[in-house]
């Protein structure tokens, strides 16, 4: 698996931008909303989830672009029994390079928005629960667009609708939790189910899409 992570990292390019984008987006949204803590507090879950969704989509959008363009993908496809380890490596690479820093930054941002300290860990858990669903659909879209020149835009267009369910349930679950509700609300369970569902489907879809892009 380490090899696949290194494979993912070597073509990662702008993945470090995810954390920068995430923080900037949330900070600017906070400034736009204004200094009143009650409105900041009520908008916080939506802002953090939106920032995470956008940062994820943007960082995964070109996941396969470099490898398709420089011929690496073709060699990998010919040399390896299956592209599944490669796709999973890309996903793992995203988790290490982009998702992990965002999950560390999320509680800090939420605290700045006035969320109670004892609710921060739970909110981060919910974000971790929903992020795979967003990331995996974006990864599948990136695989579809691997051979295209303007792939990034195409990827975001395809993946955006799939980000809607995790966004809805993620924001609901987070609002519920920061307002004093239980962590494992029905919304949180649906969020986990969405991620598991995508984890079961999208890697195989992405492999098929990459094969198609190589035809």
């Amino acid at each position: 698996m380490a090899r696949d992570i290194s494979a993912a990292l070597r073509s990662g390019g702008g993945w470090f931008y995810a954390i920068v984008f995430f923080t900037l987006f949330a900070a600017l949204a906070g400034i736009a909303i204004g200094p009143e803590l009650s409105s900041l507090r009520s908008a916080a879950p939506a802002i953090v989830w939106l920032a995470a969704a956008f940062a994820t989509e943007l960082s995964v959008a070109n996941a396969f672009h470099d490898d398709a363009r420089d011929g690496s993908l073709r060699i990998l496809a010919a040399e390896q029994e299956s592209l599944l380890p490669y796709v999973l490596g890309k996903a793992a690479g995203f988790v290490v390079v982009s998702a992990a820093p965002m999950l560390v930054a999320a509680p800090v941002l939420l605290a700045m928005f006035g969320i109670a300290p004892e609710r921060l860990a739970g909110a981060a858990v919910l974000l971790a629960l929903g992020m795979p669903a967003i990331m995996l659909t974006a990864l599948f879209a990136a695989a579809l667009a691997a051979g295209l020149r303007a792939g990034g835009l195409f990827t975001t267009l395809i993946a955006a609708p799939f980000a809607v369910p995790p966004l809805i349930f993620g924001v609901l679950a987070t609002e519920n939790h920061v307002a004093g509700g239980a962590l494992w609300s029905p919304e949180a369970l649906i969020l986990a189910a969405l991620s598991l569902f995508m984890a079961a489907l999208t890697p195989a879809f992405a492999v098929a899409a990459l094969r198609l892009a190589l035809e």
Binding site: R10, R74, I75, Q80
Partner: protein, 218 residues
């Protein structure tokens, strides 16, 4: 630099290749048609032809990346039967792109490919440094590829051939962007490969000093 300074050990397998009236398309349009060749171990063909004649498309076809639009290609291992599928771990393909990541050092790039080609970690390390030394980049192993010239990147990419140790080499413009010394180096390595019992199909514009049959496409 290794003691044997990069001489390619004789290959254990004898691999032969054949194209019978093979034709291929590029983006749906026919490019090369009626290509016939037969390569025994130790033989090579240089493909010539104008831009767009279909040299690269033919190499993609031979590598198994696409299917023949007409005719057939076949491989044979030893005295076995001819088969359209490329022999397992038998083909090395180098496209006209550089499969070299700018963010990684020369050694890191090649280590990745060594693993992809199935080398163990210990074997990979020796092979990587041996191949870099052979390509005249021994002092540049730890330098990021983003600081390399196009010719140096080409050398790194070509070093893959020494690491992969495959019997059949399919090379698309192996000497592109190389200086005279680099082109001679590539030709010498291809010569060693043929002497070791390998075969090669080389698409090229400038004649490499390799003992190879010439074939004009288009």
């Amino acid at each position: 630099m290794g003691k044997e300074a990069g001489l390619i050990e004789p290959y254990e397998r004898q691999i032969a290749f054949r194209a019978d009236d093979a034709g291929c398309d590029r983006a749906g349009a026919p490019v090369a048609r009626g290509v016939c060749m037969s390569l025994k171990p130790g033989e090579a063909v240089q493909l010539f032809g104008a831009n767009g004649a279909g040299k690269s498309s033919l190499l993609q076809l031979f590598a198994g990346h696409s299917r023949p639009a007409e005719g057939a290609i076949a491989w044979r291992e030893g005295e076995g039967a001819w088969s359209p599928a490329r022999p397992y771990n038998g083909v090395f393909f180098m496209g006209h792109e550089h499969a070299v990541k700018p963010a990684l050092t020369a050694a890191e790039n090649l280590s990745f490919w060594a693993q992809t080609y199935g080398l163990t970690d210990a074997a990979a390390k020796n092979a990587v440094y041996g191949a870099l030394a052979r390509m005249g980049l021994g002092d540049y192993a730890g330098v990021r590829a983003s600081r390399f010239s196009a010719g140096q990147r080409r050398r790194v990419d070509f070093a893959r051939a020494l690491i992969a140790r495959r019997e059949a080499w399919l090379l698309d413009e192996p000497a592109a962007a190389l200086d005279a010394e680099g082109a001679d180096l590539v030709a010498a390595v291809i010569g060693e490969h043929l002497k070791a019992g390998g075969l090669a199909v080389i698409a090229t514009h400038d004649t490499l000093t390799v003992s190879a049959r010439r074939m004009v496409i288009g």
